[in-house]
């Protein structure tokens, strides 16, 4: 099994699509860092002056009209039917502050989780694509039949392919995420704020990165399984695209309460350690009015982890069963 896995790893790394895919990943990583650099740049002197002028205008307006506006608002509040918000909620006119004008500094600890999550998406996509092609090409070329005349123990062959794809992507994902993490730190250190980065921040970010490595390896293995089930790379990609559009897009929009059972939100909950999603909840008020609220819900890390683990086990068993029984022509 170890020998077969090594052979499959050699085959994976020798494939042109793998090399192109990995080059693409590093290119996207570079573009991501360039975009981060543009986002983190402070305002120019002219833009800063413009922001200060806007602040002064707003502050003058506040000094001139805040009391008048408050009085008028309170009058309006009294005329409102019940239920109504508190007067402070409705008629609050806080004094404008200079830091609210212009561009706030980029804070490393705030932007990094989103960047790691975004990286986990393109890593998972690339891993799935390369995994599907890794096995799909074997079936479409017929080379799998030749391979099985050298090693007929199908479950070993199957296991070696999944292991090779999954382990092959661990260092790739780790390197890409490390580049994103350290590259962003250097950019923000130069252009924004890294002073608030604590040991705990680094720990949290490392944990997100580690989980993104796990999802990348999982995506590579799932790509192999889907490629094996459908026997063609294009078919595997088509099925995943169909799922994303129909299930994650259309179905999730119409049946919002089913979101906890879709892949993406569980993926997010696992990578980010909890994820938020929204559902529309409607009810009839005491006065007979029908009110709909957009309610934020949280999907726990544990839910995401169990969901992904169950999905992986089911898919691995299904792929193994099919490959064990299937006639190879």
């Amino acid at each position: 099994m170890i020998r077969l896995t090594k052979v499959e790893l050699r085959r994976l790394t020798a494939r042109r699509l793998t090399l192109i895919g990995v080059a693409g990943l590093f290119l996207i990583t570079a573009l991501l860092l360039v975009a981060t650099w543009f986002d983190a740049r402070p305002l120019s002197a002219a833009e800063q002056q413009q922001a200060e002028r806007q602040f002064q205008l707003a502050h003058k307006d506040w000094v001139d009209h805040a009391a008048e506006n408050r009085a008028q608002c309170e009058e309006d509040w009294k005329a409102q039917p019940d239920p109504k918000p508190t007067v402070d909620d409705m008629c609050s006119y806080p004094e404008p502050k200079l830091e609210d004008y212009g561009k706030p500094p980029t804070v490393f600890a705030q932007i990094m989780p989103d960047l790691l999550q975004g990286s986990s998406y393109f890593l998972a996509f690339a891993a799935f694509l390369i995994g599907a092609s890794f096995v799909g090409a074997e079936f479409s070329s017929g080379a799998i039949g030749n391979w099985l005349t050298f090693e007929p123990r199908r479950l070993r062959v199957y296991g070696s392919k999944l292991l090779a794809a999954a382990t092959g992507f661990v260092p790739i994902a780790a390197v890409v995420l490390a580049i994103v993490l350290l590259g962003t730190f250097l950019i923000v250190d130069h252009l924004g704020d890294t002073a608030s980065t604590t040991t705990k921040t680094w720990g949290d970010l490392s944990a997100i990165g580690g989980r993104a490595v796990v999802t990348t390896a999982l995506a590579a293995a799932l790509g192999c399984i889907v490629g094996l089930l459908l026997r063609h790379t294009a078919a595997a990609i088509g099925v995943v695209m169909g799922y994303l559009v129909l299930a994650e897009g259309v179905f999730a929009a119409f049946l919002q309460k089913a979101q906890p059972w879709l892949v993406k939100i569980n993926f997010d909950a696992f990578v980010r350690h909890d994820a938020q999603y929204y559902v529309t909840e409607c009810k009839t008020g005491n006065d007979g009015s029908y009110i709909c609220d957009y309610v934020q819900k949280t999907l726990s890390f544990e839910h995401g982890a169990w969901y992904l683990a169950t999905l992986a086990v089911v898919m691995v068993l299904l792929g193994g069963w099919v490959f064990h029984r299937r006639d190879v022509n």
């Binding site: 052979v7 007929p152 123990r153 190879v328």
Partner: protein, 306 residues
């Protein structure tokens, strides 16, 4: 080593078409391939040759029946003997974007063969100079040779070639034929399925003929030819009418063939000359007409649709 390299009993395989119709590819095949030498596996297209080979190699599951290779039950004990089997099933299939050498290196590594073996088998199959070219750039003949090189990585005792000369030019066909014969002469067991009967006749020591997934005849080439077709002699004699009358009266079947008579059913060609000479009819020429594998094959598989 057992006397029988391959044995199947009651082997059966049924496919379902996309429309759900059942197609019986192999029905109760009893096959025995003796150890050593070249064994021809003949049958019309669709008679179940390739399916039988695939079942022997564990690529296709059988519905019923038993198979053994070198005494080991297949597919359960196939891993124990797979190292002794080299096989090319239909057209050679490798990773097209990899070089021939890379393809062989991966296979060699999978079975634990030393990497130096790759160079050796490439040289053996005259692919040494093209080993670093991509498989997709190979001609059909080179692909076939690469497939043979792959089988030789294992140094196998049993080689299975399924239609090995399909699409090859005459030089390629000859090369493959010589390779098979050479392997047979080295004491290896070579099972070659082919519909090019003259070719099989030239290289095979024994043959099995199947039709509709069943064994129709089996044995040495001489046994199969002799057992199926009555001996015939071609006779040149002055008076055809009289000769026909005499030989027919003796229980032989006679028909005209240009200036000759074709006589079947004579226990010995000497009987023909003796009976005609008794009636003062003298034979100027007598040639035994040798039955060939093709005529036997056509006779046995008549109506099976080649």
């Amino acid at each position: 080593m057992p006397d029988v390299a391959i044995s199947t009993r009651g082997l059966r395989k049924t496919y379902r078409t996309r429309r759900g119709r059942k197609v019986v590819a192999v029905q109760g095949l009893d096959l025995e391939v003796p150890t050593g030498g070249v064994h021809g596996f003949l049958g019309p297209n669709g008679s179940g040759k390739t399916t039988s080979i695939r079942m022997l190699l564990g690529l296709v599951r059988s519905d019923a029946g038993t198979m053994t290779v070198f005494g080991k039950t297949v597919p359960a004990q196939l891993p124990e003997v797979v190292g002794r089997i080299g096989a090319i099933v239909e057209s050679p299939k490798f990773f097209p974007a990899f070089t021939g050498r890379k393809n062989l290196e991966l296979l060699a590594e999978a079975i634990g063969a030393p990497r130096t073996r790759v160079g050796e088998v490439l040289e053996q199959t005259s692919l040494g100079e093209r080993g670093n070219d991509r498989f997709r750039s190979y001609s059909l003949g080179m692909k076939q040779r690469l497939a043979i090189a792959a089988t030789l990585l294992k140094e196998p005792d049993l080689l299975i070639f399924d239609e090995p000369t399909n699409g090859l030019d005459p030089a390629g066909i000859r090369e493959i034929r010589e390779t098979m014969r050479g392997l047979g002469d080295q004491g290896k067991t070579v099972l070659v399925s082919s519909h090019i009967l003259a070719e099989v006749e030239q290289v095979a020591d024994t043959v099995s003929i199947i039709g509709h997934g069943r064994l129709l005849a089996s044995g040495t080439v001489a046994e199969v030819i002799g057992g199926s077709t009555a001996p015939t002699v071609k006779v040149a004699v002055g008076n055809h009418e009289a000769a026909t009358r005499i030989l027919t009266a003796a229980g032989m079947t006679v028909r005209a063939d240009g200036n000759y008579l074709l006589v079947e059913g004579a226990p010995d060609p000497a009987d023909v000359t003796r009976r005609l000479a008794h009636q003062e009819l003298y034979v100027s020429e007598l040639v035994p007409v040798r039955a060939d594998l093709e005529s036997v094959f056509l006779e046995l598989t008549e109506g099976e649709g080649l």
